[in-house]
């Protein structure tokens, strides 16, 4: 066994820098691939959440005063919990919002005096995910005159996320193909270094497993170093990338942080890829 392990170490002795730099490069690519995959898997829940978000406006009866409106919000909060963002827009709040862009309209409304309160819409806005029963409850309230909702207000953001999702899939595929290509060429080179020894192992009656050991050692070490590179990058650079991604859009604030356990998965995946690549090495010996 120790003899076969020593055969597998030969590429690392004879071409140390080739093995090391290729492992490092593969590790960086694997980190990129892992990150793209994480974005790919994190985006659908975000899109689903945004797609379900609704802005509901409950317009109040003219006879509901500001005090009653605030009581109504408290009633809704106790009914729906804290999952909804809620607020009351009074007549004066409405005018303040309109003032900047529609000063002439505000001027005309001021001529109505006290009747203005009956003309200007006063409403409670609610933002979040609504079930049909929640909407029914709002409509059933006597203080509410009518209910209006907008369900597709994040449509353009969802489209952007969809593009990002597709881009991350493409990135995963491209990075995986690049890793496979580097690994294939590296193992082909290693196969040339080892094929005579492996063919002799087989010709001397070595078993199928024994003839695999040198390749497993060579490929496993490449995989291990790649995985460690990717894992270390995930732990130390992953957080910085996460902050960058979150700054791209307010919608990304909901993006969960990259789990640290993924670094271990990256080590495992890289080791598996390296060990699997030993097939190339063994099959290149003719015996």
């Amino acid at each position: 066994m120790k003899h076969l392990i020593r055969i597998g170490l030969r590429p690392w002795k004879q071409a140390f820098w080739s093995q090391w730099i290729a492992s490092l490069g593969m590790g960086v690519l694997l980190f990129g691939g892992g990150y793209s995959y994480w974005i790919f898997t994190s985006i659908p829940p975000l899109m689903k959440n945004l797609g379900e978000q609704e802005l509901v406006m409950a317009y109040l009866n003219p006879d509901v005063n500001d005090q009653s409106a605030l009581q109504l919000i408290a009633k809704m909060r106790s009914q729906f919990g804290s999952s909804l963002e809620m607020g009351y827009v009074s007549a004066s709040d409405f005018l303040k919002k309109m003032k900047a862009n529609n000063s002439s309209l505000i001027q005309e409304l001021s001529y109505f005096g006290e009747e203005m309160d009956e003309l200007i819409p006063r409403y409670i806005y609610m933002n979040g995910v609504f079930t049909p029963s929640m909407k029914n409850f709002i409509q059933s309230l006597v203080e509410v005159e009518s209910v209006d909702s907008t369900g597709d207000r994040y449509q353009s953001t969802i489209q952007t996320f969809l593009i990002l999702e597709r881009f991350s899939v493409a990135a995963v595929l491209i990075l995986f193909l690049t890793i496979a290509s580097i690994l294939f060429h590296l193992m082909k080179t290693n196969a040339n270094l080892l094929k005579d020894s492996i063919s002799m192992v087989r010709l001397m009656g070595g078993s199928y497993f024994q003839s695999r050991i040198p390749g497993l050692v060579t490929g496993g070490l490449i995989g291990l170093f790649s995985g460690l590179t990717a894992g270390i990058l995930w732990i130390y650079a992953g957080g910085a990338f996460y902050r960058l991604v979150r700054e791209l859009s307010p919608a990304f604030q909901m993006l969960p942080g990259p789990p640290v356990e993924v670094s271990l998965i990256l080590v495992g995946v890289a080791f598996f890829l390296g060990a699997f690549s030993s097939i190339i090495l063994r099959e290149s010996s003719n015996a």
Partner: protein
């Protein structure tokens, strides 16, 4: 032990071996002669189970090489001592470990004292005792060839296939190698040796197969003689 019937070998459309038929029995000592490119090494590679015939039947230890299951092939290979022309020693291992590997691959997890003394005896007979702990990658061509001989013989194989085993040797080493091969034959192993050395053939008289352009030209059988 070995039976070949109408064996052909074709590489990229070119016939390298053409209709080869002969038998080798236990204890036979056979020379394989022929010029460069006659097909000797190809034939020996097939006999060593490294390659399959393109056509015809090659039976080794009673098994058709084309149909032999992997476990049987492994056992067959453990009973064959192959000395290839390009010796293919493992350069990262010492001379001793290269020979020991041959034993451990045959299923011996740890080397017994007997096995170690057998390796030492072979190294002594081949003039390699002082090189025992030298890495094989640091050996000369002739030394490597002798290590390959020791590697093949250490398991006392039933079939020995040697492709130019004395090509890079001095006079004394040539006869040390031939002595070991003849002794192996005397204990019952079948030995096939490809050589160009007329002196060897003259002094160690045995049966000869002559290959020319992939065809078997002559099959001469002589009684084993002293040298």
């Amino acid at each position: 032990m070995l039976t070949l019937r109408q064996v052909n070998k074709v590489y990229h459309g070119e016939k390298v071996l053409d209709q080869i038929s002969f038998d080798v029995k236990r204890g036979n000592f056979l020379y394989l002669l022929g010029g460069s490119g006659a097909g000797k090494s190809t034939l020996l590679r097939m006999l060593a189970t490294e390659e399959l015939p393109s056509d015809g039947s090659l039976t080794v230890f009673g098994y058709d090489l084309k149909k032999v299951p992997p476990t049987t092939l492994k056992a067959m290979r453990q009973a064959i001592g192959y000395i290839p022309q390009k010796v293919r020693l493992i350069p990262d291992l010492t001379v001793f470990d290269n020979i020991a590997l041959s034993l451990t691959l045959a299923g011996r997890r740890t080397l017994s004292l007997d096995a170690k003394s057998k390796i030492a005896e072979l190294l002594g007979q081949l003039g390699l005792m002082s090189k025992s702990e030298t890495l094989a990658g640091n050996l000369s061509g002739g030394e490597s060839q002798r290590v390959a001989v020791a590697r093949a013989l250490v398991r006392s194989p039933e079939l020995i296939i040697a492709d130019e085993p004395t090509g890079a040797q001095d006079f004394n080493e040539v006869w040390a190698i031939m002595d070991l091969l003849v002794k192996a034959s005397q204990r019952g192993a079948a030995v096939i040796v490809a050589t160009h050395d007329r002196e060897i053939i003259k002094r160690v008289q045995n049966s000869c197969l002559v290959l020319k352009e992939g065809r078997l030209q002559t099959q001469g059988y002589r009684e084993r003689g002293a040298y």
